[in-house]
Amino acid sequence: MRNTVFILLLIMTLLFTACWDALDINAKDLTTAVVVDKIGEDYAFIVEVANLAPKKTNGEKGESEDENYSIVDSKGKTFADARANLDNKLDKPIFLGTVRMLVLTENMAKEGVGEYLYRLRNLYEYRKALNIVTTSSDPENLLELQKGSPVSAGHTIEDILNKLYKTGNTIETSASDALEKLSSEHTCFLLPDINIIGEAIALTGYSVIHDSYYIDQIPITETKGINFILNDKVECIYVVPFKDHRATVDVELKKKKITPFYKNKKISFRTEFELDGLVKYLDINDGFDEESQREVEKNLKQMIEKDINSAILKSQKEIECDYLDFDEVFRIKFPNEYEKMDWYKAYLDSYIEVNIELELDPGGDYDYNPEIKR
């Protein structure tokens, strides 16, 4: 009997003093996007927080609209100070498990992305599958574009990236990818760049990060070649001239192979791309004969080769940084040699050969050169 009473007392003590970590989800500030900025000497956090009971505000046209998300910002001399100031402003403890997107401004990226990412690594709540992007737009304007919308800015950016990634028209760099790159010997990688175009959020290119610092920007018009090299699956559109007309062709990357060679201390790569092209439509109704088809195929091949070559050239000669992951390919085949060399320099002198194999389908279900017998 005494033992039972003792055990019950123990249980009641545990019960009434326990639940140390219990905090309901509605008692937390659910953050959907985090922007990290450097303003002068200060670090700044701008966070997008979900309103659990959406506030009614006056919209631009005077109608009342629901403010589903609020923007809160804070500054500080260090990340810790900025975070402390943010906690001072928020009415509930911040919850980072719902963050969809981490945005680093260009200023912050120029200061170095490493420190914040190392901080992220140690914050248990942050999920390492979180995507990272950079921006040169004003971060508050970026987040406020979604004001009044039921979808947050973080969701929107993530959805844009996911949609484009499915067709291979962008790269995605998660926090764990970035941390792996920062921990390896050769730290050069790309981050998608998101900006405000008109009144919408759009992907505007890639930011190049070298040794954890932002060094350059690649505009969206020059990213096709990079996508072919970095992604395993790419679907994009080319408008190919032939005779005096244009053909719009759907190009799909089927297979890609990059083979490294190392002979007489010279590094070279042979890249092979197998692509399928499908002529979607022409600017003429018919008359797409075999000669035209051959011309389109030849021109298309040249265009793709030009894109890939210019991406390689930019990486080797302009930006002088291997963000195309050739180091990985070389390391896998020649690990001992890779360990001994300075890849930064060795890459710049390496020769990269591009081979394209293209199979063009002239029309698919549509016959652009019908044979009329009547």
Binding site: L14, W20, D177, L182, R331, P335
Partner: protein
Amino acid sequence: MKSGVTNRQIVFILLLTLTSYSVVDISRAMAASAGYGSWFTLLITSIIFSAVGIIVVSLANMYKGQMMHEYSCKLIGNFGGYAVSIYYVVYFSLIVVFLGLQLATILKADFFPKTPKAAILLAGIPVFCFIAYKGITALARLFEMIGMFYIVVGTTVHVIMFTQGNPNYILPLFNKADIGNYFAAIKDAIFPFLGIEILLIIPFSKENGKKSIITTALTVFAIGLFYILIVESCIMKLGMNDIVHYNSSIIVAIRDMELPFLDFMKRLDVLFLTVGFMGFFLGITIVYTAITEYLCRIFKNAKRMMIVIVLGALSFAACLILDTVEGFSDFVTSVGIYLGIGAGALIPGLLLIIAKRRKDIA
């Protein structure tokens, strides 16, 4: 109720006991020591420990219906037998405190930062002791039930992780120039394979037979393959260079996974954590059971309930005190290897030789 442990139950006991010791950070340890050849190191180590398993089970099979204390007393006299039992008690006590602290540390670091370690231990230790009190037969059935879920969930999750990860992170699989490193890394791969000596508390029966020897050997080898799957999949997810920074690399890797096509179940944490915790708890519980069995034989007149309560109280106190001692975990992992080799290979090996000699003479 018929008591006894079947061969199938032995498989699950080995699986959950071995994996509970170090599955949380095996990926980090292997990435740091063996690098890209982790699979090779683990393969070699699993073959070595399959042989250890054969030794242990061969010895147990020679004395059916008895556990280690009983046949060691027969083989090397009462004094020797008691000395061996006390050795095992000390070894298992060290392991139980280490595991308890590891449990409290991981939970506090990753899940319950505000909960005191004392509360975590106070909740867990009575449960472990309660199950230890029930005896080896009930515990073996528990292993059998939970082990099946553990294998299915663990394998599925890691195979998915494997398909989601970046294969470049684990390539090249083998580099001839690093072969020395791979063999040197075996030292770091020993700790994950410690635990086979747990089988010495199980009284084998006629039903176990010679098949139990083959079963044990194949099980240890299969556990090695399971470790390879875990290590390679975690490295594929986190990267060879970054994974060395995480003490609980497997938890970080699981949290890094998202499966969009599963919609609301796209984060697999809850499934993996539930099954993982259960496996971990059972791994600790069987060590408590081992200590209880030895103590019951050493102190024949003491009641089992009393032994279990005292054991629970002492382990709780030891966990709290040793938590303040710096470097205790490192001490256990370094010294524990040698103690474990002694407990799992040397002592059973010597006893097996003596037993076979006696059998030949007889």
